[in-house]
């Protein structure tokens, strides 16, 4: 009768590798009491149609994320460094393979 029995189940983020050669990609999350069941739940929920050949689950609480409020401080400086992109440079007419 305890509705509270899964109240404390931690959240896990799920990552699937679609096939060998590709990165694992975040696909969603599951609740589970422990790592082993998190993997089972993830398998049942996210790979019923040959979506993957490998699964990662990781406690959501273990992920360190950047704060959207500081995204300017983190990412804006890249905007004035356009010389880091090849398109910044003009290639002289007649010069190939550059």
């Amino acid at each position: 009768m305890s509705n509270a029995s899964n109240q404390g189940w931690p959240l896990y983020e799920v990552f699937v590798r679609a096939k060998a050669g590709l990165d694992h990609r975040h696909v969603g999350s599951v609740h589970a009491p422990d790592d082993e069941l998190a993997l089972q739940h993830a398998r049942e929920l996210y790979t019923r149609r040959m979506e993957g050949v490998s699964l990662w689950v990781v406690r959501s609480s273990a992920i360190v994320a950047s704060d959207p409020a500081s995204s300017d401080a983190l990412f804006a400086p890249a905007q004035d460094k356009i010389y880091r992109h090849p398109t910044f440079y003009t290639v002289p007419e007649g010069v190939d393979n550059l």
Binding site: N3, Q7, S29, V30, L45, R48, A65
Partner: protein, 328 residues
């Protein structure tokens, strides 16, 4: 990963809040997605929690009418298909509860609300499934209507909801096709089988049209949801689209859609249809449908029946954490 950047709206001076709201709306207008930790107006959060949790409950309760036929499907093949379909619906519920959780509501709160009868879910699942043809009609019409509703939600402004919808839509077309396949088998069978298919269409047609919600003239939440790009098309537009798509499918089956006013309008290039009984819709939503009580009881009992599994899993996890702590 989805911890909340909660909007302490109460603490903000009004000018600052107005500025945040303006920036938020500008992002939406530019088709940017909103993610869980981004600032959002409390009403946007609230609207999404309501909509996503109702959607999740619909997926979960939606397993019950079809679950009725899992042990009675006419062949092993049909049974395997139905089992896969119903399992998908459980998955849809899980994707959606997760999406709602990113907004700061816990899954347990949502489940408790459903058990307590406080949560709403789609009115369609309060109708009974007395025959096997109902399983066909549900897949064809109910999942069909769900697809029309859900495809635009893949572009919803809230990232986690939109992503959940992409996964759901990928799985839905199998649901619709297996339903139509059942209808096709029945319609190419004996007279009794054809009658069974017709009877199911008669009972599911109007409730399916109600799935798109009240007419635009009475729809309370529509305008704001459109501005926030949670909703992309009006209830009436989606309903019309469903009718236009579905009538030829019914004709192919040789079935009659139970609407004497139905006719093709050459000028508008749409079907015209008769009045929908909105009183029935309100009654079913308010709890007076043919199966409301049965569904609520069934869900509460199944949840209770599974308690020992959840408790055992929790105890096992607990024991292992204690043991590994003891070792180190």
């Amino acid at each position: 990963m989805y911890s909340q950047g909660l909007d302490n709206l109460g603490d903000l001076p009004p000018e600052q809040e107005a500025e945040l709201v303006a920036t938020f709306q500008a992002r939406i207008d530019a088709e940017e997605k909103i993610e869980p930790k981004d600032w959002m107006p409390a009403r946007y959060r609230h609207t999404l929690v309501r909509q996503i949790s109702q959607h999740a409950h619909s997926e979960v309760v939606g397993m019950l009418p079809e679950g009725n036929w899992l042990t009675r499907a006419p062949s092993l093949h049909r049974k395997a298909i139905l089992l896969a379909k119903v399992q998908d619906e459980a998955g849809h519920g899980a994707y959606l509860y997760s999406a709602a959780e990113t907004l700061g509501v816990s899954r347990q709160e949502m489940v408790d609300d459903l058990i307590a009868g406080k949560a709403r879910y789609s009115s369609i699942f309060n109708y009974p499934t007395p025959t096997w043809a109902d399983v066909g009609a549900i897949g064809w019409l109910v999942d069909g209507a769900a697809i029309i509703n859900q495809v635009p939600l893949c572009r919803c402004s809230y990232g986690p909801y939109a992503r959940a919808m992409v996964r759901i839509c990928r799985e839905e077309s199998f649901h619709q096709r297996q339903g139509y396949d059942i209808m096709q088998s029945l319609c190419s069978g004996t007279d009794a089988q054809r009658e069974m298919a017709q009877d199911a269409l008669n009972r599911w047609w109007w409730p399916s049209l109600m799935m798109f919600g009240p007419p635009d003239s009475d729809s309370v939440h529509s305008d704001q949801s459109m501005a926030w790009k949670i909703k992309r098309f009006s209830n009436d537009d989606l309903r019309q689209k469903f009718i236009d798509i579905t009538i030829p499918q019914a004709e192919h089956l040789g079935l009659n859609v139970p609407d004497p006013d139905l006719r093709w309008d050459e000028e508008s290039q749409h079907y015209e249809f008769g009045p929908i009984d909105w009183e029935e819709f309100s009654a079913v939503l308010a709890g007076d449908g043919p199966c409301n009580e049965e569904r609520a009881d069934a869900f509460a009992h199944k949840y209770e029946d599974g308690a020992w599994v959840r408790e055992a899993a929790a105890a096992y996890a607990q024991k292992h954490t204690t043991q590994s702590k003891g070792k180190s």
